[in-house]
């Protein structure tokens, strides 16, 4: 085993680190309020931060870094997956805008279009994704199709040059802020469950597409319900092979499980907790001197290291042309359960102060722990539940029977 970056990877790591330190406003890492690996998309506390967010994404796009692992002719840098992983790690460590959880377009739709899109679809969407001009939401879940996506009922029926959509999507994160949906729909209502589905790209502005906000447990509007009523989209917006959507979905989900980890965020959050216990006393004693605190945090540090290893592993496999389907599931189980455990441990250590929800003189660590406690509930559910991940590891990884 060899855990060293190549010279080229290391150089990119260092260049990117310097860039992030130089370009992000001083103290920026204290602004975002997301717990590592959540799907809650918490908004900034200070709305002015949104301006920093937007101008920073432009800068990253100008560098061609928003899509570094894409081929050069598509606005990427032609970097390998390890460099992509380094990018994700650094960005999430510095809590840079779109460092994690914000990149459905660049992390999922773009790579899928590059693999299965037509030349026309690539020409239409890829450059705009690369420049950070358009964003996507994921249209998978429906009221009756959660873990069992084979049960999607939203239909897309051909009519002339159009596909006519009818149905409902739910848990559509940030759909209200996005331009397009990357949606799985039923194109052959008569086929068996998994055989009649396809991917389509749906413009939010399409007549017949309506949204209702859904407020999440943190009190924020991140979810939506989206209704399609005779919504017409061009037939050309069907991506990949018709009725083979399930086959494509597996790959899209791998990308999602790798892209959204934000592994550097764990290290950053952990450093804040370490700082806190080293500088704060309870009952006359520094928290960091209490043996149980030391053990718990050492254990979290160890599990973060494991998360890093499993993360690098997926990138390394992609670079070898292997398909990290099982490995991305292991990564997802390990890191999402770590997100939950880290919140629990922090809550235990902080005691009653951990429950404070607003930043104040009494709330440790910017009141993030109470958020993390809630946010991390979503980690083991979104993008495939821990149970589904374990099914994948057992069945596809270990070859146990599906019965």
């Amino acid at each position: 085993m060899d855990f060293k970056f190549t010279d080229k990877e290391q150089a990119f790591h260092d260049e990117l680190t310097d860039f992030l330190i130089a370009e992000l406003p001083a103290g920026w890492a204290d602004h975002p309020v997301q717990w590592p690996h959540d799907y809650a998309h918490s908004p900034y506390r200070d709305p002015k931060d949104m301006e920093v967010h937007e101008s920073f994404i432009k800068k990253i796009a100008e560098k061609g870094w928003l899509t570094i692992s894409w081929p050069k002719e598509y606005g990427g840098q032609g970097f390998n997956n390890m460099q992509q992983a380094i990018f994700d790690e650094r960005m999430s460590y510095y809590r840079a805008p779109a460092g994690s959880s914000g990149s459905v377009g660049a992390g999922i739709v773009g790579p899928m279009l590059l693999r299965i899109g037509t030349k026309e679809q690539q020409a239409e969407f890829i450059p705009r994704i690369a420049r950070g001009e358009i964003t996507f939401w994921l249209g998978y879940s429906e009221p009756n199709a959660g873990s069992d996506l084979g049960a999607v009922r939203t239909t897309a029926i051909e009519d002339g040059d159009d596909l006519v959509l009818n149905g409902q999507k739910c848990w559509s994160s940030l759909a209200h802020k996005a331009d397009y949906s990357w949606m799985i729909v039923r194109t052959d209502p008569d086929a068996r469950k998994h055989q009649g589905c396809s991917f389509v790209i749906v413009d939010n502005k399409t007549p017949g597409v309506e949204m209702q906000p859904v407020i999440n447990i943190l009190g924020d509007h991140s979810f939506n319900e989206v209704f399609m009523t005779d919504a017409r989209i061009p037939k050309n917006n069907l991506v990949g092979e018709k009725n083979k959507g399930f086959y494509h979905l597996m790959q899209a989900l791998d990308f999602e499980r790798i892209t959204l980890v934000g592994i550097g965020g764990f290290k950053r959050m952990f450093e804040e907790i370490i700082d806190y216990v080293k500088t704060n006393k309870r009952n006359g004693k520094l928290l960091s001197e209490i043996p149980s605190v030391r053990y718990k945090l050492a254990e979290i540090a160890t599990n973060i290291e494991i998360g890093y290893m499993l993360f690098w592993r997926t990138a390394e496999m992609l670079d070898r042309g292997e398909d990290p389907n099982v490995e991305s599931s292991s990564l997802k189980v390990a890191t999402t359960e770590l997100a939950r455990d880290m919140a629990e441990v922090a809550m235990e250590i902080l005691g009653p102060y951990g429950q404070l929800t607003e930043s104040s003189e009494w709330s440790p660590i910017r009141a993030l722990v109470s958020r993390g406690f809630l946010e991390s509930i979503s980690a083991t559910i979104g993008a495939g539940t821990s149970e589904i991940m374990r099914n994948i590891i057992a069945q596809r990884g270990l070859g146990l029977p599906r019965v």
Partner: protein
Amino acid sequence: MNLDLNTEQKLLKNSARSFLKQECPSALVRKVRNSDEAFPETLWKNMADMGWMGLGIDEEYGGIGGSASDVAVLMEAMGEASLPAPFFTTVVVSGTAIQQSSNEEMKAKLLPLLVTGKLVSSFALIEPNNDYGLTHIRTAATADGSDWIISGTKLFVEYAKGARYFLTVANVEGTGLIVAMIDAATDGIKLKSMPTLDYSKQCEVVFNAVKVPAENILALGDDAESMLNHLEDICAVAKCSEMMGAIQSVLDVSVEYVKDRTQFGQPVGGFQAVQHHCANMAVNVDSARYLTGLAAWKLSEGLPATKEASMAKSFVSKAAVRVSKLGHQVHGAISFCDEHDMHLYLRRTQSASMAFGNTEYHLEKVAQKIGL
């Protein structure tokens, strides 16, 4: 980055596995546990013929060189086979200590014997008043001219009855620690068996005013301290590799079994509760593999490795026992039979998890390394 074994390591792994499958079946492990011999001589000789005793030892002394990562590969294969022989204490622990020592005489005398399998050495560290660590060593070394007199009681000394030397840690009043290779044939040494969970033939070793010539001292004072600190990392990683091998076997055997065993008209591996046990085993095995690999790599590169070694030991110690127990669970009653091999792994992993620092011991070291 390459998280797989390199070509030579793959070869080493394959040859070690097939050798041990042949030469060290579980029947042999059971035979050894029931016999008085400290370890199977023939197996040991054959292992030496494979060149294994020279792994990690400089070519200058007849060894074949190789890194900590290479040693990890072999230790893993040994863990898989529940090897009942003192490779770890002889080659990994004593071999490393002798090589690190500035005592050229000892190197020239002992290493050529060690690499041919003619020298078996055990590690005498733990004492009745401590469980692990260097802070409470009471075994006393007192100067006697240029020689030393050593007195004290050591516990959990593996394969002591077959050892020709004891790599011994003692305390010199006012000076600090001393590391000596004590010849097992010296007057004043008494052994008493300490049967343990893992059948590893551990002993109590009493040194009663044992005379140790100056030439047998490997390190003293600061040198001893730094040698032992380095050994602590080496031992932690080697034990992790051994546990890794054991739990990879547990996983493989369990997956085979649950595909085969039928209840309610279907393989039990089709039941989701069983599948999730297996998935948990797999994630634990993978995590243990990369964490151990990272620590071994750091050691191989000569980088500071204490944090990673302790992370690995703290995690793998728990994970290995967890996986072994899940292995039992998915097997049902058959695994509770002596005749079944599952308990060999459970025994091994539980003992290894406590050896050379348990989870808490290493978590405390990690805590220090992350700035707490």
